[in-house]
Amino acid sequence: MVTPREAAAAVVDPEIRAVTIEELGVLRDVAVDGASGRVTVTITPTYSGCPAMEVIRADIRRALRAAGHPEVEVVTELAPAWSTDMITESGRAKLAAAGIAPPGPAGRGGPVTLSLSVRCPRCGSPDTEQVSRFGSTACKALWRCRACADPFDHIKAL
């Protein structure tokens, strides 16, 4: 028997399919009303305009229905604002394994653009450079490794 928490936590991020919404820090809470069986799932967006939120809501409902919970409400909570520091250790490891450089620690009051800390997720070399400050999704920037010459995505510290 899959619990509501387990079902919601297993939902994969639609844009970065290597990690779950729990590992990404998007899943905040799963509460079950004992009397009605109604499940309330609380999520938070990575960026204000993240277009994946609609898909995530639909995927959560589908996953919970499949686990035997037809009554589902998905609520969005903004505070505290999502930070890349909320990505779990296993999430970071999976990102790196998928060729996406995980973020360094988030700075206070804004993103840190320290280029020294980004290691190539393929060969591990620290000799990398930023190609574009914006990437294929709102949360990523495009980087390139000078050692192995491969381009790679990097989750911007936020």
Binding site: Y47, W82, G110, S136
Partner: protein
């Protein structure tokens, strides 16, 4: 106490800025910048949706974010004139983004610590994004200003043309000194002249706009008005 007009001013600034930035989609000078400008547009749109949703709740008339975005006429919009001005040159886009994001960062920073918890939540999220927009537009301002003779001429012309419209950002606020302390060093590093203060066009916050807003709204609203109630 947060007012509907205050939320509309913030939300409409973000919405109209998003629409203008989106016009660059597939037309930016290079592919990376195309992705950058549309990413920034997405951030602005995200903040606009949250702010307009809240404005609709506070207004008490049951208006949704879509009602406010698609069914108001130009006179009902509360955005500053700066954001509705046409992006006639890439340098103009960068100048507008520099001036706007410096303003937004300061406003969101103040609101994030404010008494209105719902607005504070929206602002705390948006302030991180504004900081990145400011960083991006600052880098481009320096690159163009301290670039070739032609890029400097166009960046200076953009800054000169936009400067009068920045005064409106500080109506009802006291953050002009803080704004100048962000913007002036960027202009200096870009070897650009800081324009003198003079003409200060106004009216956006009470619904008196330039003709450019009407054309922008016509394009932004046409689908929704042709198919009332249309949803994705």
């Amino acid at each position: 106490m947060t007012t509907v007009d205050e939320l509309l001013a913030l939300g409409d600034d973000a919405l109209i800025a998003a629409q203008r930035l989106g016009e660059w989609c597939s037309r930016a000078p290079e592919m990376e910048e195309d992705i950058a400008l549309t990413n920034i547009a997405l951030d602005q749109l995200g903040a606009a949706r949250l702010l307009l949703t809240y404005a609709g709740e506070l207004g008490g008339a049951g208006q949704t974010e879509d009602d406010l975005a698609y069914l108001r006429d130009d006179r009902e919009f509360r955005n500053c004139l700066l954001v509705e001005l046409p992006d006639t040159d890439f340098a103009v886009t960068i100048g507008k983004l520099l001036f706007l994001s410096a303003h937004q960062r300061l406003r969101y920073e103040a609101l994030a610590g404010g008494a209105d918890e719902q607005l504070a939540g929206i602002a705390a999220k948006a302030v991180k994004e504004s900081a990145y927009h400011l960083d991006h537009s600052s880098l481009w301002t320096v690159r163009l200003g301290d670039g070739t003779e032609e890029s400097r001429r166009r960046m200076q012309s953009a800054v000169d043309g936009l400067w009068p419209y920045t005064h409106e950002l500080f109506e009802g606020g006291d953050h002009r000194d803080a704004w100048l302390s962000i913007v002036e060093p960027v202009l200096a590093e870009a070897t650009l002249d800081r324009p003198a203060d003079g003409w200060a066009p106004t009216g956006g916050r009470v619904g008196r706009h330039t003709e450019h807003l009407s054309y922008l709204l016509a394009e932004m609203q046409v689908l929704h008005r042709a198919h009332p109630g249309a949803r994705w």
